[in-house]
């Protein structure tokens, strides 16, 4: 074996008809050519006038203002933020229960997480919008529909946030708790003063991601079904689109979602980069 290799190495390098580098060049060339052909075909085949008329219709867009902002955007932000705040604290409590020494707490937390993470959000919303008011006769949450929406979104997001918090709490080094305990802090005091603040710092990027997801999930509250004043971005755009048989309002609603989520995504990347460099 050894002699074979030495002989092969000693001889002149065998020349393939096309070297790998040449082959790569040709393959790249073909891919670019295909790309150009597809674009050209799309440009030629599309009916630009009707596309503009259906999707980017300035007149239709004008009709959406200012309500798309004063009603749609405003409600999307209120629903998402109130749901997130509720989910944040509930999620933290569930995460602590999940890590508790007390078995019943762990079981409750696990059930909660599995149910609300496993159910499609829209199922929860429909149950809250229609099932709960019928089942509990005179039951009405305060600030309806905001209370109902905040609770529904909060319950769903708490399940995800609980798992995120759990990961963060477990990522805090054990030595931190030992140091706190050695200074005479109780278990609870160490958790509140030392563990949770550091756990939250660790999971700030995924927490921001959850906020982005919740902005999108807030569109599902249309399933609760309410009046124009409480429409959020999606429902607002959708109903206007149906009325006018034109998709422009929906495109507009989509654009406003991006106005909310893209900066947040940018923020997440910033935060992740900062964590990579080592937090100071």
């Amino acid at each position: 074996m050894t002699t074979d290799t030495t002989v092969a190495e000693a001889g002149p390098t065998p020349r393939a008809r096309l070297s790998p580098r040449k082959r790569k060049k040709i393959s790249l060339g073909i891919q670019y050519a295909l790309f150009v052909v597809v674009i050209a075909a799309l440009v030629l085949a599309a009916d630009w006038q009707s596309i503009q008329h259906v999707f980017f219709n300035v007149n239709e867009a004008k009709k959406a203002f200012p309500e798309i902002l004063t009603i749609g955007m405003r409600n999307t932000v209120i629903y998402t933020v109130s749901g997130y705040v509720l989910g944040f604290f509930l999620g933290l409590v569930v995460a602590l229960m999940r890590l508790s020494d007390v078995l019943p707490y762990r079981i409750i937390a696990l059930f909660y997480i599995e149910i609300f993470r496993g159910l499609p959000a829209i199922v929860v919303f429909v149950i809250f919008g229609f099932g709960v008011p019928i089942a509990f006769d005179d039951f009405e949450l305060p600030y309806d529909p905001y209370g109902t929406v905040a609770l529904a979104l909060g319950l769903v997001s708490a399940a995800y946030l609980a798992e995120t918090f759990r990961a963060g709490i477990q990522a805090v080094p054990k030595g931190q708790i030992e140091a706190a305990r050695s200074l005479g802090m109780s278990q609870t005091r160490s958790t509140v003063t030392v563990v949770i603040p550091q756990a939250i710092r660790i999971v700030v990027p995924p927490l921001t991601n959850e906020l982005i997801l919740l902005f999108k999930d807030s569109s599902l509250v249309f399933a609760i079904g309410f009046t124009l004043g409480s429409y959020e971005l999606y429902k607002f755009g959708e109903s206007l689109s149906t009325q006018t048989a034109n998709s422009t309002p929906l495109i507009l609603a989509g654009a406003f979602y991006l106005c909310l989520t893209v900066p947040l995504g940018y923020l997440v990347r910033k935060l992740e980069a900062r964590q990579k460099r080592g937090r100071v």
Binding site: G175, E178, G184
Partner: protein, 256 residues
Amino acid sequence: MTHAVQLIGLHKSFGDLEVLKGIDLTVEQGQVVCVIGPSGSGKSTLLRCVNLLEQPTAGQVFVHGAELTDIDVDIDAARRRLGMVFQQFNLFGHLSVLDNVTIAQRRVLKRPKREAAEIAMRNLEKVGVAEKAKQYPAQLSGGQQQRVAIARALSMDPAVMLFDEPTSALDPELVGDVLGVMRQLANEGMTMLVVTHEMQFAREVGDAVLFMDEGLVVEQGPPAQVISAPQHERTREFLHRVLNPTHLDEEAAAPQ
């Protein structure tokens, strides 16, 4: 007279692994006791049993006459009297140096903010890192972090200080700063129980040295005896390896 620290028949097992196999130990008020021994001998576990960071499997722990292993004792209150310094410093990364030193004073001892800060600054000055008070642990060298950790423990006015290999994670050139602070504490009469590999520190500062191996105390006595004239073969072998790490080959080659 009550002992500062007294351990009676201390056993500790992790599952099937018996780490401490019956330790008796007393530390008198104002004494510095150094625990030496190979890694895995149970030194750190012993120290962690004193403030019950590890729950002993059997045996009793007394601190100033009060039994910590008694289930009726408020362990959080008892730990306030036992300062602890860790190998990995364990400063709170989300708090500034000053907050690291004041947080337990304020939350546990309920000292007012101003008083806690004064005590913190006094202790930070004592260990020579007062000018770092506004910085965060990640901005400090290992030696500075460890000195902050000492100041943090001292600010709780402990009766006894426990040191768990306080210089083992430090760059060699930074070891001296930390040992200097510990020597100063010893001179001021602080009662100290120190797990260490620094033989020179044990010899010069220790009132008593304890050699542990495989979960038992093999030999104990004044440093002049245990370190300079060890009685047991196991102690001699350990000290030879620690004190002459580069001469092991010679020794192995010698018999031939």
